[in-house]
């Protein structure tokens, strides 16, 4: 690496650390000083809000609305990588990287970002020390992390955009941009396909499928193609003038389905869900157009889900 590219790699590593911290803990503590002066956050950073206030916002977005955790994006349900986090941690440990943050929380996205930061800075050190063999190992590792991240970042970003949180939307978009920049993806690349799960139509074709299963399907990003957060489900309810319901997302959607049937509004409700999915699809297309994030597979999944919704209406 030349000096210029070394500097670029260093600042990118720093950026991943910052973004990882913001996702993992929120804009609290020492990072506030950075946010205070960074033009990048000028329009979305509210310095008057205390750490406590930002903790509430962080909890609202990532603890209540959109979960950046393996539990959603990497779980058995999601079929998108399963034990990948453990693999990443083991690999990092094996190559001698200290990764204390693993004890913090099971926040996969935050950890991944911190890992990318750590790898980036380690690469700089290795380059400066002239340890080319190890450097190539880190290149490979960084590439693997990026590909994994790019595989599922799209619906998460769109999910966060739906929570009306300009600050965290910005954080996620910066992640997209940084990841795409580093990955240098070619224009026609597709993200790694999620493991095959039944489409909604296939699910509906099974005799034992209930509305609860449909509701559950719609809350699994890798199944339906989008992350529907609680706020968005509440907006759906308002759109068709039904009670919001309570509980976790699947409970909310299930009770909405029942309420829609009770009130003869199933058509309206299903149309509204399909409409929301269209918005997600557009937002995904926008991410691809703006930053080059590959989102075709997600959009295809959304289209499949919308087709399945037509069956639900019947």
């Amino acid at each position: 690496m030349r000096d210029q590219s070394l500097e670029k790699a260093r600042t990118e590593g720093e950026a991943w650390h910052l973004l990882g911290h913001l996702v993992l803990l929120g804009p609290m503590g020492a990072v506030r000083e950075i946010l205070d002066v960074s033009p990048a956050f000028k329009n979305v950073w509210d310095a008057s809000l205390s750490d406590d206030g930002w903790a509430v916002e962080h909890q609202r977005v990532f603890g209540h609305e959109v979960f950046p955790y393996g539990s959603v994006f990497l779980s058995e349900d999601a079929k998108m990588g399963g034990q990948w986090t453990a693999w990443a941690e083991r690999l990092m440990e094996a190559i001698g990287l200290q990764f204390d943050e693993i004890v913090l929380e099971a926040d996969h996205l935050g950890k991944l970002a911190l890992a990318l930061g750590a790898v980036g800075l380690e690469k700089v050190k290795l380059q400066e020390a002239g340890r080319a063999m190890e450097l190539s190992q880190f290149h490979f590792f960084e590439r693997s992390l990026l590909e994994h991240l790019l595989g599922w970042l799209g619906p998460l970003v769109v999910g966060v955009q739906q929570t009306d949180s300009p600050f965290f939307s910005m954080v996620l978009e910066l992640m997209v941009e940084l990841a795409c920049e580093q990955a240098q993806l070619s224009a026609d690349v597709e993200e790694p396909a999620a493991e095959a799960v039944d489409s909604l139509a296939e699910l509906l074709a099974q005799s034992q499928t209930r509305l609860r299963d449909v509701a559950r399907f719609l809350t699994i990003p890798s199944a339906c193609g989008a992350f529907l957060c609680k706020a968005e489900i509440a907006r759906l309810a308002a759109q068709v003038e039904l009670a919001t319901g309570f509980g976790h997302r699947t409970q909310m959607l299930e009770s909405l389905f029942f309420a829609a049937i009770d009130h003869g509004k199933l058509d309206d409700f299903v149309s509204a869900v399909a409409g929301r999915l269209t918005e997600h699809s557009k937002a995904l297309a926008n991410l691809q157009e703006r930053w080059g994030l590959p989102t075709q597979a997600w959009r295809r999944r959304i289209t499949q889900t919308q087709e399945g919704l037509l069956v639900v209406r019947q």
């Binding site: 600042t11 911290h21 020492a30 950075i34 002066v37 941690e89 913090l104 911190l114 910066l174 795409c180």
Partner: protein, 958 residues
Amino acid sequence: MALSERLSALLASLAKKPVSRHALLPEAKEPTNSAGLQPPAFALEPDAEPESMIHVHQPDGRMTSYPPTDKWGDWVEWDSRAWPKKVARRYTLVPTICFNCESGCGLLAYVDKTTFEIRKFEGNPVHPGSRGRNCAKGPATHNQVYDPERILHPLKRVGPRGSGQWKRISWDTALEEIGAKMAESRKKRRDGIMYHVGRPGEDHYANRCIQAWGVDGHNSHTNVCSASSRLGYYLWAGFDRPSPDYAHARCILLISSHLETGHYFNPHAQRIMEAKKKGAKIITFDPRHSNTAAKSDVWLPTWPGSEATVLLALARHLLQTGNINRPFMKQWVDWQGFLRLAPKVITDEAVLSALPSKGQEGTFEHFEAALKALYRDFSFERAAAEAQVPIDRIQAAAQAIVEGGEQLCTHNWRAASIANRGGWQVVRCLFLLNVLTGSIGNKGGTSGNSWNKFVPKPFKQPPPGEVWNELQLPKEWPFAHFEMSFLLPHFLEEGRGKIDVYFTRVYNPLWTNPDGFMWLKALTDESKMACHIALTPTWNESAWFADYVLPMGHAGERHDLMSQETHAGQWIGFRQPVRRVAMERAGKKVQFTYESNPGEVWEEAEFWVELSDRMDKDGSLGVRQWFESPNRPGELITQDEYWGWMFDNSVPGLPQAAAAEGLTPLAYMRKYGCFEVSKDCYRPFESEGFNTPSKKLELLSETLLDWGWSEPEHVLPWPLASHVHPSEIDRERGEMILLPNFRLPTLIHTRSANAKWLLEISHNNPVWIHPSDAQRLSVSTGDQLRIDTEIGWFVDRAWVTESIKPGIIAISHHLGRWRLKEDMGVNRGGSSLATLSQEGEHFGLQVEHGAAAFESSDPDTARIWWENVGVHQNLTHAVHPDPVSGAHCWLQKASVRKAKPEERYGEVHVDTRKSMEVYRAWLALTRSAQTHSPDGTRRPYWLKRPLKPTKNAYKLDS
């Protein structure tokens, strides 16, 4: 693709100012607490295959799994923190008993065999009460043990009281100095030493010590807790708390959602759910939509003070529809006493005409007719109107009770009984339903606590004392259940006496009691309290004003024996210092428990033995003899000897069970932590009757009649007008009822601040306010409210919710902790930094800032994300001693308005002159033994006292 401006800008700014990973995510530093507590270190061990768990299907259908008991000595499981690596850990599993509420659930400590650190606390599957399950408070014992802010060494005050200046002293110094003060007091008088207990958590060990000292010195927290309920039950049946057989009930009526969601949560809740799954109906009285109310079939959000009326409407329904258990009542109710005494008490012609005419022999039929006439006016319509609840819900409750029949479980502990003046009558009216349905002592019915509790006797018991301490049970309250503890500072203020040596034990009177600034005055006045010793596992507001602060252990750090009435059976649970037991299992010798606990944390059981020895070194006071070994004459008793003798000689069946496993009874208890003494304890009264003067259930209390409370509304189950009766509350002027006597189920009274998991779940206490009241006051959630009581005011934030009845505001009374020094006192994550002010009799508390993250030996303290830790409302509560039961009646009449900008969150102001005025007004309602005693004694002898002195001491002229 070109970089966007914003990413370019971000990278540019980071190029100028790199972010250090450690600056963002600071690593845990070395221990920072003053006492130097080290975080637990867990050495890696070679891999070994974990053992298989045993799977247990619980009665409510859930499946749980536990280590099999034969593997408890050497249990291997994967270390969760090492995941994904498979690292085996070897543990010795030591059972103990939870100390975070009163129910005595079983815990199983996983003690690392290499480091003797406690890895976790889980449920003890062989415990008959908790059956392996715990609420959130049990596992959180681990937080308390490893709390970086805990007190680890004995401390002695070196500056003025409350200045926060302490020096570390040895246990030996503490024992010598305090023992000398006790001896000096005891030589002068027998009412100069007082032991004031908050969380007892044991059965009678401490009481035995107090009796051995020869003083009348037992004081408790009961009169801010359960006094009203206790009196209500005792007058009926001679036991002072109920023990419902929930698991087999068909109908469950709760007037204490607090109990089922906060206090006896685990053992009771699991059995309530068991019954519910089998079809039992649950009825809950509560103006709050509590967790229990939410799970109920019938929720009755009764207006405070109307509960007795609703209960009598239910009783009337049973009487009018003939759904009463005549054979039971005929045999077990003292209806003959009623017929004999009714003409002296009752003037209602309809009732009198139902009684036998002169010369006619009274029959049960006369009694039944009189009862019908007595309660004829308590219609559903009247009840619905007074309680402000829909009539159909009362009808539904009545139907459920009828269907419950003999399988009716009822329970009242705090709630309405401790909330209202006359609350003891709520219990009398509640238990009337059990009496009418004959659901007493049956399978699925309601028993007395003493039937389901077993307290073994020690090797020898000191005799009753010859003294009566007027500071604890003054003449004005001959029926108090028990000591008038919350009035202690008012009594001291009046000059009724003074205290030489005052022990507080897991008790925080300044914070817990109403009228806290009166406590502050007392605690800081050395002429009234000459020496105050705080025995506490953690800092608290009162300990700050003590002369000695002595650290005592949490659940896994002490010896105690407990039994509680969790179901229709009897058991004992053995609390143990788990590290000590683990070390002894490994062959290490431990003389005193503080050698195995963190720092020098000790336990009361050993401390009392050593202290009593220092109090009476030569035995001349007659104290030391009670603390000498039964096996080694003249030498002090050890814990093994004390409990060993008890298990050998006082627990039926235990020696046999132990022998079957080749163990001594002590070894059996050390291994299992509990023993089931008996099961299916039903209808024990059939052999001996009830513990009342008539040996029967007393509908009409002759005792109250004899002691001057002779009106029908006192001697019979009857509603009494609450001090917050609607006639006392002018809602149009903004007056409301403040309901402070409830707790969130994850909170411990004053020790949640040292349990990080619990604190993260619940850490503030906003004002529950109904949307209609919020609209009237133009406030939204988060807005600040000023709440004025009779003696002062405070500022808290609103939480607008339909879960509270209009006209009432509710604030949980377990939050709002404060400390006076930034880095010392109540845990920084659970308290606000405050300043106290005083101008004459005007006291104030100002919050400087709330909780904040801090670095310590526990990395989690750097992750504290909350700031708001609640408001200390109790400071502004005037004392309301019920003239009969002596209980503090917690409900407060309050004026509520939106706070002004200059009125800050957490601010408290109180005028203690008003405190004394309110106290005197309530004092004037009493009927003193001095003027009403029928036999020249201070208190009816048959009523319970925790430590009864001799009969001679009961005499007013003694």
